[in-house]
């Protein structure tokens, strides 16, 4: 990683055609940046710089800051700088594949690097959108760069551009391949670049793809497997000290007063930092353990607030609430068709869950008089930048947020309070400070996936659903991170009901209403948002209806799909997963199949689970998960399979094991002893089938989590005749359910 202090902040100017040219620079490099705005809008930025790399080029005054830069230096060094962060999903590899497709290079000629906030401050990484939102603009930027290089080479070589071609990072004369210039030679000593209208550039047809659709190896693995990759917890700079912060003892606690107590005299303590108004107390020390020990010596009075119990929190999930329910979906008149006597009704519950990313929250901040440098494992460098600007009064353009690799994200790093803590401590002590949370801090002081309650009811007529109603209550997911006025505009929290929208168009009367419940404990982003929890309810209930109607659960689903392209894609994944899993065929004694499907970010997923039950222990054993996914187009098929496998494992962990509970006002879990995760010995065989329906890439990070909990519950019902309506399916709950 380059030293951020040496990064200058060169302003660029936008030319008439929307390019951005490095002001006053003399030519020694070519860099193009591409930005995506709110609408499918993009802007290209071309620039030249003298002896500096694109990483150092700051962009000021643009509506949309570039999220990806492609840079060529005179020594033919070609680098792609990506502001999307790498948290395991392989986005650096995927975006590089898209760029390489149009750039005219070999894969091994590319260097891929993370870029800092000075060149892409508004980027968030999340929501399974990184590939779908960049698929066209990144290829266009690369194609434009290639065309600019051809035009410039034509000028330098005195050959018509039409007679030239770009490949392997060089421009060749088609008729005479011995005559060529490397990209670096083309770029060298150029001060004026031709401007090209991007609309005139034709992108490669998919039949000619060399990189897209290939399972190229991930670009970040060698450093990660030799221990040299730098994550947030690993950042070390000269003169760095360690910080730790006092944490509230209960979920509702407020700091009444804070005094240094004995903290300042503790071994290694450098400075006690207290801001009562901000309810902040921390210590800077020479070592991490010294900082943590000194924090415990602070003299802090807490008002513990109401000492909440788990049952009280769950009771908040009520449909009789001050805030009205918000009807998201209303087709026909479900209420009157169902009337007072639904054919089937059922209620489902899911608990709080933690992200439990294995690298705890971590950041390093170095606050100077008029600038701040922050290294952080974050999904939202822009959020850090604006928060730190408010905190310090320093202008955002002087705050450089450098994302490191992330030891897991899962939505927890869209809000990284740890960066603010490091900033407060660094500012107070006048030195760089690293703050890394301990596991107990991470387990108790983050935000959680909110609990949900779903009341489902439906009317069956002649083996079909004539009407279905879903009343849904959830804690907030997206709202806590949006300004209040935006909440009014949106009306309802898009995160909390994600995945709950009924997509069975064959059902004439459908109603879905959601109640947003405020909890005295923070809830928020979690992989897939409400997806896993909500599909657990909707697809378990679909299964209940199938059994009541005495129709095969696969056939029952197919019967209720529509005939539009979306429904055809859903039908495709259902059929593919079922066929591969030999749905309907005999299984070993004591085994059973369950099926479920879901959609998220327009990706469709179906899963068939094969399981058995240890009737003595109550432990469910998952033997196999067969999953079919249609994301339109897969940039890196093996990467998509890896995301699917991982989402299934994380989803099984939620289904079988994980729940956060509160006792006497405090989160009970303090570490993995009381919040265990899925392990290799419980991992089933996983078979993934990728379907490409229409050549348009969609998201892959979250969708495969959708069906898993319902598919397990449905298989459990097929095996035992007992319906599990509450996550997680822990052995004691399973035994109790079977016994009753």
């Amino acid at each position: 990683m380059s030293d951020p202090k040496t990064q200058s902040q060169r302003k660029w100017r936008v030319t008439r055609r929307g390019f951005l040219i490095g002001a006053g620079a003399t030519g020694a490099a070519l860099a193009i940046g591409v930005a995506v705005g709110r609408r499918p809008f993009y802007r290209f930025i071309a620039g030249m710089a003298s002896g500096m790399s694109a990483e150092n080029m700051a962009v000021g005054g643009l509506d949309n800051d570039p999220f990806t830069w492609i840079e060529i230096l005179p020594d033919n060094e070609i680098t792609i700088y990506i502001s999307k962060v790498e948290m395991g999903q392989g986005v650096h590899t995927s975006i590089a594949q898209m760029a390489a497709e149009e750039l005219g290079v070999r894969w091994d000629q590319l260097t891929i690097r993370q870029s800092g906030s000075l060149r892409g401050p508004n980027t968030n990484t999340g929501g399974s959108t990184s590939v779908s939102s960049t698929y066209v603009p990144v290829r266009q930027a690369a194609a434009m760069m290639r065309e600019m290089l051809i035009l410039k080479a034509a000028e330098k070589m005195g050959v018509p551009a039409a007679d030239l071609e770009a490949k392997e990072a060089a421009i060749y004369v088609k008729a005479n391949p011995n005559e060529s210039m490397t990209y670096g030679e083309v770029v060298d000593d150029v001060t004026e670049w031709p401007e090209i209208d991007v609309e005139t550039i034709e992108l490669k047809p998919s039949s000619e793809f060399e990189f897209i659709g290939k399972s190229l190896p991930r670009v970040d693995f060698e450093s990660k497997l030799t221990g040299t990759a730098i994550y947030g917890y690993d950042v070390q700079v000269e003169g760095m000290l360690y910080g730790a912060v006092a944490r509230p003892p209960t979920i509702g606690a407020t700091m009444q007063s804070a005094r240094a107590g004995d903290a300042a005299d503790m071994p290694g303590a450098v400075q006690v930092v207290i801001d009562e108004e901000a309810r902040f107390a921390g210590v800077v020390a020479r070592t991490r353990l010294q900082a943590q020990a000194a924090v415990r010596a602070l003299d802090i009075e807490w008002d513990e607030g109401r000492l909440w119990q788990q049952e009280e929190l769950e009771a908040l999930l009520s449909f009789e609430n001050e805030r009205d329910g918000y009807t998201i979906q209303e087709d026909g008149d479900a209420a009157s068709v169902i009337g007072d006597e639904p054919t089937v009704s059922a209620e489902y519950f899911t608990p709080f869950a933690a992200h439990a990313h294995l690298e705890p929250q971590a950041a390093m901040a170095d606050v100077q008089a008029d600038s701040v440098t922050i290294y952080c494992a974050t999904q939202a460098q822009g959020t850090i930048q604006s928060e730190v600007s408010s905190l310090t009064g320093i202008e955002p353009e002087n705050i450089n947020v450098v994302p490191t690799y992330l030891g897991g994200g899962f939505g927890r790093r869209l809000n990284t309070e740890v960066a603010n803590e490091a900033v407060r401590l660094s500012q107070a002590v006048g030195a760089p400070v690293h703050v890394g949370w301990f596991r107990v801090e991470d387990m108790r002081n983050g935000y959680f996936r909110p609990p949900t309650r779903s009341q489902m009811s439906a009317r069956l007529e002649n083996g079909r659903i004539s009407a279905i109603n879903h009343d849904h209550a959830s804690g907030p997911v997206a709202f806590p991170f949006f300004p209040t006025p935006m909440q009014f505009v949106m009306g309802t929290d898009i995160g909390s009901w994600r995945g709950a929208f009924n997509f069975y168009q064959g059902i004439e009367n459908r109603r879905f209403t959601t109640w947003l419940i405020d909890f005295p404990i923070r809830t928020g982003w979690w992989r897939g948002l409400g997806l896993l929890a909500n599909v657990f309810a909707t697809e378990s209930f679909m299964d209940e209806l199938a059994y009541t109607a005495q129709v095969d659960p696969l056939q029952f689903r197919l019967n209720h799909l529509g005939s539009d392209p979306f429904s055809e894609r859903m039908r495709g994944v259902l059929m593919a997963a079922a066929a591969q899993a030999h749905w309907g065929e005999a299984l070993p004694e004591g085994h059973a199949h369950g099926i479920a499907c879901a959609t998220d970010v327009d990706t469709v997923v179906a899963q068939v689970v094969e399981l058995s039950l240890d009737e003595t222990s109550g432990e469910i054993q998952i033997h196999k998960v067969t999953c079919a996914v249609d994301a339109g187009l897969f940039i890196n098929p093996d990467g998509a399979i890896a995301q699917t496998e991982g989402a299934i494992i994380m989803g099984l962990s939620s289904t079988l094991i994980e729940e956060i509970t509160v006792r006497n006002g405090a989160v009970e879990a303090d570490n993995f002893g009381r919040y265990p995760l899925m392990t290799i010995d419980r991992t089933p065989e996983i078979e993934v089938i990728l379907l490409e329906s229409d050549g348009q890439p969609r998201g892959m990070g979250e969708p495969p989590m959708g069906p898993i909990a319902a598919a397990v519950g449905n298989a459990f019902f097929a095996l035992t005749g007992t319906r599990l309506r509450r996550l997680p399916f822990k052995p004691e709950y399973v035994l109790e359910a079977v016994a009753s």
Partner: protein, 162 residues
């Protein structure tokens, strides 16, 4: 206080002498490849070798490992940069996602395979079952450890034949 790590001798800062091996490796000596996950021995992210035995650095007092040979992920590849067969298998099978747990997974697997040749799948699962991977790379971990076992067995045979 001195420690032997990856064949080299390191001087430990006095402030770290009373703590555990994890923070000495990371914060004092800058050997960041040994990762911190839980600090309580649950997750295995900090697994290193102490005299060849897979050991949780977060639960190991520095005092207790003076005079031992410690090996971390940084010491696994050959000095020429040739990856250990387990590292190579993890790349070949494209195992990791975020990879924060992977140093621990690899050190756990190497210690196991140095003791056990031709392991069964059950033995691999048994050896690896206390290493968490939140991204859920378990299917591939199983596959890669099995592949590495084959490669290591083959290398042994080749060396024997020579």
């Amino acid at each position: 206080m001195e420690l032997r790590i990856n064949g080299q001798t390191y001087e430990v800062d006095e402030a770290y002498e009373s703590g555990n091996l994890l923070w000495v490796l990371r914060d004092n000596l800058g050997l960041m490849g040994t990762r911190f996950g839980c600090g309580a021995g649950f997750c295995g992210s900090c697994t290193v070798h102490v005299d060849g035995v897979a050991t949780r650095a977060c639960m190991t007092a520095v005092q207790a490992v003076v005079g031992t040979e410690i090996r971390t992920i940084e010491g696994l590849a050959s000095p020429e940069g040739e990856l250990h067969p387990v590292q190579q298998a993890f790349i070949d099978k494209q195992v990791p996602q975020c990879a924060w747990c992977m140093s621990g997974q690899i050190m756990q697997a190497v210690a196991f395979l140095e003791e056990t040749s031709n392991p069964t799948e059950e033995e691999i699962v048994e050896a690896m079952k206390e290493n968490y991977c939140r991204c859920g790379c378990y299917v591939r971990i199983k596959d890669a450890v099995s592949t590495a076992a084959d490669v290591m067995a083959q290398n042994k045979t080749t060396v024997g034949a020579a």
